[in-house]
């Protein structure tokens, strides 16, 4: 479980990276975090990994209050997480097997367990034939599958995937997200940061949009599982939503432009959500 309560992060340079952000991701959830560069996504990831501390507010991950977490307890906390990097970050001098087994070595797992568990997760990501290959001998998609296997091997409660499809072919991106979805189906919470709106639209689920250090959109949408929405259309919808959230001056009784006249509108925020979801799903007011 991930919970941010009124979290703000201000860097020493004076830049406000996150501004009073509150967020809760329950166990077993799958959430996409979207937002443009510099919006605050990386800062949020760093916070969740206890790489940086919040200037104010409370950050709780997997039951650990990160504000109070002592430095020597960080390794213990990180063992409850799995992390998938955009640039894979595999140790080049280790084989696929060793890269994955390493995580279990860190937690001093019995050798017998390592010998059983590692081949199992390698087969889960479909890389059995590459067990003894080195990262240099793998394609981008294969590397990312190794990274996912590594994140998965110690059975973490939460996997944070930071742009996991950023360095691989678009068609392979869907495979990677499918893989993460499959892991999520087994009960692992997944938080995936991405720029790729096509993926978000295709798979649907909970979408959190961060803009200028604030969460401007946080809703569950239905995936289309069909042809991708044109990028410009999605971006325009997102931008419009962000702009409106800044001003947030829409009268409560005025229906949003994209919503049908009979749609129940409870607040300005709901109106904005409906508008973006309509753009994302291609439906008129198809919010869940």
């Amino acid at each position: 479980m991930v919970e941010l309560q009124n979290v703000s992060v201000t860097y020493s340079s004076g830049v406000d990276a996150l501004n009073n952000v509150s967020l809760k991701i329950n166990d077993g959830d799958f959430a996409f975090v979207v937002g443009s560069s510099g919006a605050g996504k990386s800062t949020m990831i760093k916070l969740l990994l206890k790489e940086i501390d919040a200037t104010s507010g409370v950050v709780t991950v997997n039951g650990y209050n990160l504000n109070k977490l002592k430095k020597r307890k960080i390794p213990e906390f990180r063992r409850t997480l799995g992390f998938v990097f955009q640039d894979f970050r595999l140790i080049p001098s280790m084989t696929v097997y060793e890269n994955i087994a390493f995580v279990l070595r860190v937690i001093d797992a019995p050798l017998k367990y390592i010998r059983k568990r590692v081949p199992y997760v390698i087969s889960l990501v479909g890389l059995h034939a590459k067990t003894n290959s080195y990262p240099d001998e793998l394609s981008g998609g294969e590397k990312q599958r190794v990274a996912i296997a590594r994140a998965l091997v110690n059975d973490p409660q939460l996997i944070i995937a930071d742009e996991p499809t950023g360095n691989i072919d678009p068609e392979l991106s869907y495979e990677i997200v499918e893989l993460l979805k499959g892991i999520n189906d087994q009960g692992t919470t997944i938080l995936m940061v991405t720029h790729e709106h096509d993926l978000v639209r295709h798979f649907g689920g909970r979408i959190i949009n961060i803009t200028d250090g604030e969460i401007v959109f946080d809703e569950v949408i239905t995936g289309t599982n069909d042809e991708p929405l044109p990028e410009e259309e999605l971006a325009a919808a997102m931008a419009e939503a962000e702009q409106r959230s800044d001003t947030a001056q829409i009268p409560a009784d005025a229906p949003p432009a994209a919503a049908p006249a009979d749609a129940p509108v409870t607040s300005t925020e709901d109106a904005l959500i409906d508008e973006v979801i309509a753009a994302l799903t291609g439906e008129n007011g198809g919010a869940e």
Binding site: P75, R79, L81, R89, P92, S93, F102, V103, R105, P110
Partner: protein, 301 residues
């Protein structure tokens, strides 16, 4: 940590040497050169010191006895002198021998000896060499207190000069060793930093998957120590070969040996164990610490 964990980390350290062989070789070379520099300076100092002490050993106390001292007492005096603290050796100089020495020392006006009948007027005496040349004055004074001793004399100026020479040599050698050690540490530090920097991402990955600092450092520690040991062994064999060659050349120089005394240059067999221990320990410790300290910067993730 379990035994299997320690075994795994140790193996990782040794495997890392091979996997990162270029950086390991660079560290090995820098450590080897550093150890040779400091070791050579230390050996130079040890030998200079020994040579100066050799010079000092040739500084003797000339002891002359009262001519009336009977021969029995002369014999017992030799033992008495030998028992004095700091006395190394006591050589008896008979009247006849003293007469011959005097004749040899006087080059001009030797005709005077034509007027001297016999050598009975000469006193018996001893040539006393001391263990510690720095205390020659104190020893001379002790000898002079013996009733039968008419005179006991040494050259305190020679002792003073040698003392000063040793002081200067110690200062210069000490400064040289410290300077070389500092330069070596900087070279080693930069090399290990470069070696660790090349693997900073590896360290970060380890941190992200929840590795403790100890878990990350142990392979680096083992890697640095093993590389250091090899560098120490290399430095030892190079020193051995070079030292023996230099020793042979110097000991063949008769003039040098006469001036400083045979044995003033220490044979390698006499210091082999100390040299080996110094190189292996220094190599191992510097290699291990250098690697571990260099990882510190990258551990704060």
């Amino acid at each position: 940590m379990k035994l299997s964990g320690i075994k795994y980390l140790t193996n990782q350290g040794i495997e890392n040497i091979w996997k990162n062989k270029m950086m390991a070789f660079a560290t090995f070379c820098v450590l080897l050169i550093s150890l040779l520099l400091v070791g050579s300076a230390a050996l130079f100092y040890v030998n200079m010191n020994s040579m100066i002490l050799g010079l000092g050993n040739q500084n003797e106390i000339a002891v002359y006895l009262d001519p009336s001292t009977d021969q029995d007492r002369v014999a017992s005096l030799q033992n008495e002198l030998a028992a004095i603290d700091n006395v190394d050796a006591v050589d008896f100089i008979s009247k006849e021998e003293a007469y011959v020495r005097m004749q040899n020392q006087i080059s001009r006006g030797r005709a005077i000896f034509d007027y001297i009948d016999g050598y009975d007027f000469m006193p018996d005496g001893f040539s006393v060499t001391v263990k510690d040349n720095d205390r020659i004055e104190e020893t001379t004074a002790k000898i002079a207190q013996i009733t039968e001793v008419q005179s006991a004399s040494s050259s305190p100026q020679v002792a003073e000069f040698l003392r000063e020479l040793r002081r200067v040599v110690t200062l210069i050698a000490g400064a040289l060793i410290i300077a070389l050690a500092v330069v070596s540490m900087i070279m080693i530090s930069n090399t290990t930093k470069a070696s660790v920097f090349a693997r900073r991402e590896e360290i970060q990955i380890m941190k992200y998957v929840g590795a403790t600092n100890g878990f990350i450092r142990t392979p680096f520690f083992v890697e640095g120590m093993v590389t250091g040991f090899f560098a120490g062994a290399g430095a030892f064999f190079i020193t051995w070969a070079v030292y023996r060659a230099v020793y042979r050349i110097l000991t063949e120089q008769a003039m040098l040996m006469n001036a400083f005394g045979i044995g003033s240059i220490i044979p390698f067999s006499g210091i082999r164990l100390y040299v080996a221990l110094f190189y292996l320990l220094a190599g191992g410790i510097i290699g291990a610490l250098g690697s571990v300290v260099s990882t510190r910067k990258h551990l704060d993730v």
